[in-house]
């Protein structure tokens, strides 16, 4: 019996405003509110709200046989709360149907998994807390930012309590193996891996509206037939897309909504079911183990991390950023912590890539900078201000460990004082 896992990643970055170096130390607000609000408004209007409504209808009309999952970053949830609380409500409605699963993912859509273990753990926890608070259920399956994955990450994630991980079917890791099975990680055999079918996913994501594509137009019937035509023993189809694929990347006029609406009918006809990651691993057992010595992801042709940390600019920015992690963890200023999450977004580093930059034109879409150098400069100006703020919290002359000890002492003494005060009160009475 074949089954389809439809997963959507929902994320919106915080765009940085143009931040000149003479503002360092003077201006501590880093974001382009107009760009953020309008990007959010466009996504909500063209995609999120209507897609949510559509999925809700599909779940209801199929009596819960249609299932879907979401991996929503903390930053996206933050922006929903700020700009479009109605989206949260519509996700809550979806959650109530019981046919929807929410996946764990780093709060800041960050590369923390590669740079700082403490921060990584913290972010996954933050996001899970927020999901639980909003949707009433704690995630059990993990999907990293950009499906970032390696043996090391597999082990880390498993120890954090997530026994299933979504990964990309990177050729250099999969080799001849098919994405249509459940695998386990070689680093921790108990960690189960679900592999995204990049071909089928990208058919919907990138090729659906391309009339130059030889398979255009892609109908639900055709799509299900492809799934059905695979060998009988290949049973798990993980379709993982950015949620913007419905309505934004593929406009309403392309017929993307109708495509999704028709999927369950054709699937049920062929005896193909819909599932969620956690249900899938209950039904299917791992057939083999996979090993990824080096980090891999779902970006670009290379399916590696070179789009985020492939050049000197990116490495400098990331190193400077994560050098701060320990200090920031010791701080308690809530505004500082907020900025800390927002500055870790993978997008900031993607903008600095020189891979897509030639003949003076930035080839990758949606990059708000003229060149990688501009992106780097702007980010570093912001980061310089942020570093000053972090350093202003506690004297920089004190080492982190020493500071930690001092803070603990202060905290303990505070507690003691409180205790003594209350004792004093009692005795006075």
């Amino acid at each position: 019996m074949k089954t389809i896992n439809l997963c959507f990643r929902v994320h919106q970055r915080y765009n940085l405003k143009r931040y000149r170096f003479f503002e360092i130390g003077n201006d501590h607000y880093y974001y382009d509110d107009y760009a953020n609000e309008s990007a959010m408004a466009a996504a909500v209007e063209q995609s999120y709200l209507e897609a949510n409504r559509m999925l809700l209808d599909m779940i209801k009309s199929s009596n819960g046989r249609f299932r879907v999952s979401f991996s929503i970053s903390g930053l996206a949830l933050e922006q929903f709360q700020q700009y479009a609380p109605e989206v949260i409500e519509s996700f809550q409605e979806l959650a109530k149907t019981g046919s929807v699963e929410f996946l764990a993912t780093p709060y800041g859509h960050s590369l923390a998994a590669l740079y700082n273990d403490d921060e990584f753990e913290l972010q996954v926890k933050m996001q899970a807390d927020k999901i639980q608070e909003l949707f009433g259920k704690r995630p059990t399956v993990f999907a990293n930012s950009g499906l970032l994955f390696s043996d090391e990450i597999a082990d880390k994630v498993y120890r954090m309590g997530y026994k299933t991980i979504m990964i990309e079917d990177a050729k250099h890791v999969m080799g001849w193996k098919s994405a249509h099975y459940v695998y386990s990680s070689i680093a921790n055999p108990k960690a189960k891996l679900l592999v995204r079918d990049s071909k089928l996913s990208d058919d919907i994501n990138y090729r659906f509206s391309q009339w130059g594509w030889c398979e255009y137009p892609l109908t639900a019937e055709k799509f299900i037939n492809w799934v059905n035509a695979s060998p009988a023993e290949e049973e798990v189809f993980n379709i993982f897309l950015g949620y913007e694929a419905i309505g934004q990347l593929n406009s309403r006029e392309s017929g993307i909504f109708e495509f999704f609406k028709a999927l369950p009918y054709h699937a049920i006809e062929k005896g193909i079911t819909f599932s969620t990651p956690s249900k899938t691993v209950e039904t299917f057992k791992p057939v083999d183990s996979l090993s990824a010595l080096y980090p891999m992801s779902w970006t670009d042709e290379e399916k590696d991390i070179s789009a985020w940390c492939g050049n000197d600019l990116q490495n400098e920015a990331l190193t400077k950023l994560y050098n701060l992690a320990e200090r920031v963890h010791l701080c308690s200023d809530p505004l500082l912590k907020l900025d800390w999450q927002r500055l870790q977004d993978t997008a900031h580093f993607f903008f600095m890539t020189t891979k897509h930059y030639s003949n003076g034109v930035v080839l990758a879409q949606n990059i708000p900078y003229e060149s990688p150098y501009e992106a780097f400069m702007n980010y570093m100006n912001v980061l310089s201000d942020f570093i000053e703020r972090v350093n202003a919290q506690y004297p920089t002359s004190i080492e982190n460990e020493e500071l930690n000890a001092l803070l603990k002492t202060i905290y303990n003494q505070g507690q003691e004082i409180e205790e003594l005060k209350s004792k004093l009160k009692k005795t006075k009475k």
Binding site: R20, F22, D312, Y357, S371, F376, M380
Partner: protein
């Protein structure tokens, strides 16, 4: 393929970018085995590199018949021109140019510079062209910049061979829009008469099409390139406390020096350890000295005066940032030279070279904040400097005159219907 080229300058005695570009282009074209270039300039000095082309000095070509014997000719101009060639040219005199003042050899004295009687020199150059057109064998005529267009036109009329003109600059660039009507007329006549027009950037191409009303199909861009530096290993950057930001070029309106001073003031207001250098000379130099003093940055803002030859590269190599805020630059070869030395460049979007450079910073010439910000970033964030330097070196290595020469050759073939 035999090309007869008319130029005005040729290294080592050059006054501007035209000579450098002429040298690079002809050298690049000479890499094609069947390319035979004759390059005419008003006044050679005798120390030009003639290993890959033949140089003819217009001041050794007789335009008025004089009865002189072999030894006399050999004595006078033998080091430039073989006396037999002199007699060969003399047979090519078909018109009466007695109105022009000539010397005892029947040759015209050229200054080879840009004198006050420039228009007269341009006319005289035309006379020389007529003699050459009658006595030389060539397939195509190639004129570099407006000074040589009339010569090219005359040679074309006489020989019936097609003419290609090379627009290194237009008067719109030089004058910020206030064109000299005489210059415009000569430029326009040259473009009208040309079989094909080569421009050094799309920016210039647009000017040629819009301001000189040329058919776009007749205008092709061939970007300039740079010659590899053979002494690049000898250049070095000394260790010093302060970072150096350099402006290098003629200090004239076209180059936007006042923006450089403004940027310096903006950066110095909040950044330590930075010095600014304005190298070169020009009619706006005194004004810039006063402006720097007025801004109160004279202690960190330095002038070097005119630099030439190797000093230019040494200055570039010692710099941390090279800046060219030109208001209008048909091409602008100096950022490429800076990148050859491994120095990151900030250039204005209004320069032609911006069209082919990825790893140079591009801003609008008036965007002082952006330029200041980039300087701060290059000086303060090491990865920025390192990336621009390394990517720049790799990029510049691929911009070669050889490739530009091939493009010019393709145009020749097209014009000749080959």
């Amino acid at each position: 393929m035999k090309a007869l080229m008319f130029g005005w300058e040729f290294p080592p005695h050059i006054l501007g970018g035209l000579g450098t570009a002429s040298y690079g282009l002809t050298r690049g074209m000479s890499m094609q085995p069947d390319m035979d270039i004759t390059f005419v300039i008003p006044k050679p000095w005798g120390d030009e590199d003639q290993s890959f082309l033949r140089i003819i000095g217009a001041n050794t070509v007789p335009v008025v018949w004089r009865d002189v014997d072999w030894d006399f000719v050999n004595n006078r101009i033998g080091s430039f021109l073989h006396p037999d060639t002199y007699y060969h040219f003399r047979n090519g005199i078909k018109y009466n140019f007695n109105r022009i003042g000539t010397n005892d050899l029947g040759c015209i004295q050229f200054s080879g510079r840009y004198p006050d009687n420039l228009l007269e020199e341009i006319g005289n150059y035309e006379a020389v062209a007529s003699v050459l057109a009658h006595s030389l064998d060539f397939d195509i005529i190639h004129s570099h910049d407006w000074l040589t267009y009339p010569a090219g036109i005359f040679a074309k009329r006489i020989s019936g061979k097609p003419m290609v003109i090379h627009v290194h600059a237009t008067d719109y660039d030089r004058s910020r829009g206030n064109v000299n009507p005489d210059v415009y007329r000569i430029e326009k006549e040259g473009m009208d008469a040309a079989d094909h027009i080569i421009t050094v950037s799309n920016l210039t191409r647009q000017t040629v099409i819009e301001k000189y009303h040329q058919d776009p199909a007749k205008v092709t861009t061939v970007h300039n390139a740079v010659e590899p530096l053979d002494f690049v290993d000898e250049l070095h950057k000394s260790e010093r406390k302060d970072k150096v930001i350099t402006f290098l070029g003629r200090i004239t309106m076209q180059k936007g020096p006042e923006y450089f001073v403004e940027v310096a003031a903006r950066v110095l207001a909040s950044t330590d350890g930075v010095r600014f250098v304005m190298a070169g000379s020009g009619d706006m130099m005194d004004k810039m000295v006063r402006l720097a003093a007025k801004k109160g940055i004279a202690d960190k803002f330095h002038f070097t005066g005119f630099l030439k030859g190797r000093n230019v590269y040494e200055m570039l190599a010692e710099s941390d940032v090279y800046m060219m805020p030109s208001v209008s630059e048909p091409f602008g070869i100096s950022p490429l030279e800076a990148m050859q030395c491994g120095t990151p460049s900030i250039i204005s979007k209004q320069s032609g070279c911006a069209e082919i450079l990825d790893h140079a910073i591009k801003t609008d010439y008036w965007d002082i904040d952006a330029m200041a910000d980039y300087i701060h970033a290059i000086v303060k964030y090491p990865a920025m400097y390192k990336s621009l330097r390394e990517n720049g070196l790799a990029e510049i290595d691929k911009i070669r005159w050889e490739y530009a020469g091939q493009k010019v050759r393709a145009i020749y073939d097209k014009v000749l219907g080959r």
